[in-house]
């Protein structure tokens, strides 16, 4: 930055900052930063503007700016706070320099524009990068968390397991589900696995295809897969799309599915005598 301009800016940094703070404060109305306390808002603005000025003196000293950005990201301030703030700052500074400089020719004018841009642009870039890096990081963490949630396998009793599916199924997830399903069936030695799709919002041909494949793979390793939790609208889409599920057992509810799982594994639920509260029993006992 040319010495003349630099001096103008630094000598009048208080005035520039004051103008900026005023503009920012006006902008704030209707902004979603309005839930932040005025005190915090003002002190953050002051810190922000100090950091911007510091960057003229030490353009290489980015650590401070980084720390500042990290903090406001963690506090959940919107990215627009940074971009809008720096836009205003650019405008205020240019205005200020223009009023300070006595003679303003076209050449001079464009030079001032470039100089201020060169100052502000890198800051915008750096902060935006930090924001987006942070988002990417968050997204990849959420992805990981989702994968873990993806397809739990619950062994309910010997030889019977349940896999509840929740959420949207894409190809990547379908593969994951199939792997978990088969490994789980082997691990728990389950003859029957109930795949519960109550929590799957949409069953289109793609999802149905993946479900059928999973059921067929389960059959190959020697177990039976019962599809449960078929809601009326899902039954309708399945038929309307012409998907053939006739090759493997389906049940409307987990309860009915569990009943057939018991039949397949040669078991049944027996009420213990002393706990029966059958009406006839009660009447009998009155006689």
């Amino acid at each position: 930055m040319p010495e003349v301009l630099r001096r103008i800016v630094l000598e009048h940094s208080d005035e520039v900052a004051a103008k900026w703070l005023k503009e920012i404060a006006e902008k704030r109305k209707g902004d979603y930063t309005s839930s932040i306390s005025t005190e915090l808002y003002e002190s953050t603005n002051r810190e922000f503007v100090n950091n911007i000025f510091a960057s003229i003196d030490h353009p290489d000293e980015i650590a401070k700016l980084d720390a500042f950005a990290e903090r406001i990201i963690n506090l959940g301030w919107p990215l627009s706070y940074i971009t809008d703030g720096l836009q205003s700052f650019r405008r205020v500074t240019i205005d200020f320099i223009l009023t300070e400089s006595s003679s303003v020719e076209t050449v001079e004018f464009s030079k001032i524009l470039t100089v201020v841009d060169d100052w502000v642009e890198p800051i915008i870039k750096q902060l935006v990068n930090q924001y987006s890096g942070n988002w990417e990081h968050t997204v990849s963490l959420q992805r990981l968390a989702l994968q873990e949630l993806s397809a739990p396998l619950i062994p309910v009793m010997e030889n019977i397991t349940i896999m509840p599916l929740i959420g949207t199924i894409d190809t990547e997830r379908a593969k994951q589900i199939m792997e978990n399903l088969l490994e789980g069936v082997m691990k728990h030695n389950s003859e029957v696995v109930l795949m519960d799709i109550t929590g799957v919002p949409v069953v289109d041909t793609m999802v149905a295809h993946h479900i059928i494949q999973a059921a067929e793979a389960v059959r190959l390793i020697g177990a039976t897969c019962i599809l449960v939790g078929i809601r009326p609208e899902i039954a309708q889409t399945i038929v309307n799309l012409g998907i053939d599920l006739s090759n493997f057992p389906t049940k409307s509810s987990l309860r009915k599915g569990f009943q057939s799982a018991l039949e397949i594994t040669n078991r049944e639920i027996v009420n213990l005598d002393n706990s029966t509260n059958d009406m006839t029993d009660i009447l009998d006992s009155l006689k």
Binding site: M178, E179, L182, E183, V185, M186, N189, E191, Q213, E216, A217, V218, R219, L220, I221, G222, A223, N247
Partner: protein
């Protein structure tokens, strides 16, 4: 290389422990049918627990063996197909729809008995 075929009462038990090459697979098909013929066995369990690859050729040989044995009056159950192998078969588009399966040798024998009783 030959795959050993064991006899247990009316059943034949086979456990495939090698990486099957085409020749061995074909030879096995012949040996098994021969043994069914000689022993009059009514059921066969082929355990695939240690098999880590089944491609379309081996799948065809196995599927054929099931159908052929059926023709000769012996039910075949395949057991112990590994998850990775099952998923690969599904991707290949090989479903082996008419081949009975069971999780392991023990359950294979139970399944055979059930099927033969019916």
């Amino acid at each position: 290389m030959r795959i050993p075929i064991l006899k247990l009462h009316n059943y034949l038990l086979v456990s495939i422990q090698v990486d099957l090459d085409d020749q061995t697979a074909i030879r096995f098909q012949e040996d098994l049918l021969d043994k069914i013929h000689k022993s009059g066995a009514t059921g066969v369990v082929i355990d695939l627990t240690s098999v880590d690859i089944i491609d379309s050729f081996i799948a065809k040989v196995l599927g054929d063996v099931v159908t052929m044995s059926d023709l000769m009056g012996a039910k075949v159950v395949l057991t112990g197909i590994q998850p990775a192998v099952a998923m690969t078969l599904i991707d290949l588009g090989v479903h082996m729809q008419n081949v009975p399966t069971a999780l392991n040798l023990e359950q294979g024998l139970i399944k055979l008995r059930q099927e033969l009783e019916e």
